[in-house]
């Protein structure tokens, strides 16, 4: 399933630079290379797991929707640091965090679903 594609992380970083978001491309992920590590967040039962994820700078985080219901992954800041398209069952979204900080996010369809990525 997983493939080493550091291009995905690069593309995400580029999109970030251009202020263009909303990837959520299916299978557009993911690497566990020496420098860029990957962390996963699973969406199960209307919840993000783990709710809080702490990662080093440069990490690509991938969310996978394992529910029967679509969800989104949207940062709560304004303007949005990241914003996925709607993820149907088994679809993924990834984003590479290039700056330290706390990134709270939520599902814009089911706003009771919240999570946080802490980048150190």
């Amino acid at each position: 399933m997983r493939r080493s594609v550091s291009i995905a992380g690069l593309a995400a970083a580029l999109l970030l630079g251009m202020g263009v978001f909303g990837t959520g491309r299916k299978g557009s992920v993911t690497s566990a290379q020496e420098k860029t590590s990957t962390m996963e967040v699973k969406i199960d039962n209307f919840g993000f797991g783990p709710v809080t994820l702490t990662v080093p700078v440069g990490t690509a985080v991938t969310w996978t929707n394992r529910d029967d219901i679509p969800h989104t992954v949207v940062s709560t800041d304004d303007p949005k640091t990241f914003k996925s398209k709607v993820l149907d069952t088994d679809e993924k979204f990834s984003f590479t965090f290039s700056k330290a900080g706390a990134y709270p996010y939520f599902c814009s369809i089911h706003p009771k679903m919240t999570g946080k990525v802490i980048v150190q």
């Binding site: 039962n45 529910d67 029967d68 709607v86 369809i109 009771k112 919240t114």
Partner: protein, 322 residues
Amino acid sequence: MSEKKKDELLHDHNHDGIDRRGFLKCMAWAGTGAFCVMKGGVLNSYSLSRISEIGTSDMMGELSFVQISDSHMGFNKPANPDVAGTLKAAVDKINALTAAPEFMLHTGDISHLSKPEEFDTVDQILKGAKPKDVFYVPGEHDVLNDDGKQFLKRYGKSSKGAGWYSFDKKGTHFMGLVNVTNLKAGGLGTLGHEQLEWLEDDLKHLKHSTPIVVFAHIPLWSVYPEWGWGTEDSAQALAYLKKFGSVTVLNGHIHQTMQKVEGNVTFHTAASTAFPQPAPGKADSPGPMKVPAEQLKSVLGITDVNYVQGQHALAVVDSSLA
């Protein structure tokens, strides 16, 4: 799209013309929407699945319409692999009503993923219903990815803001509200300042004796906030409605029927035509509930509302698709 299954007699072990399986299936098809009758200023809503238990006189009023909800066209998981089929079954139920409803309300989640073809399929199926006018409000599944632009283009041409509007039918004032856009992290459904202002203004010219029917996707009362089943700023909306003698609030979203009376306001949620969800807090999450196939239609439904001028009450009855 599957054809409506006939309740055929498969095994007649008792030679009584009733086969247990067919009977259960029949029972199961008891709820796909609500038939609503306005009677004397009071709205009564009957589940379409149980419509046969309702006396003909109860079904007569000044005005009757049907509420359907949560069609989720495009959903194809085990909880219901044939949402087109169950929506068609709902339409059949509606067409079988002796007192033909004047119009239909769809309280949102028409589509599952806001795809054009999902909306097209629902439009096509609903064309087969006798009532030709359908009034829609969006569910959160109808405004994915584009902040509801497509929804507005299709269903909200004469609406305001994110798609809210009002209209009058035979002395009853109907208000379609939108509480599924601009949702905030950690929050519930939201009406927003602009819509609340419009609502206050829209009610200003009405006599307090005017029966009001408010319809929106997410419940306007706190059904179960832990699962997001409520609307942040509904209290403000209800405050504006307080002076009216008869107020009925019709919602969808939670895929089960529930009623509550609070002073002059009757709250009512309709079943889904697609798949059931668990009772509040009775599962880990509000995800689709898988029930045995023969029971599915008993937990799906339509709501019928009947309005009769004069008294002051509304009756809502839900019928399952069985």
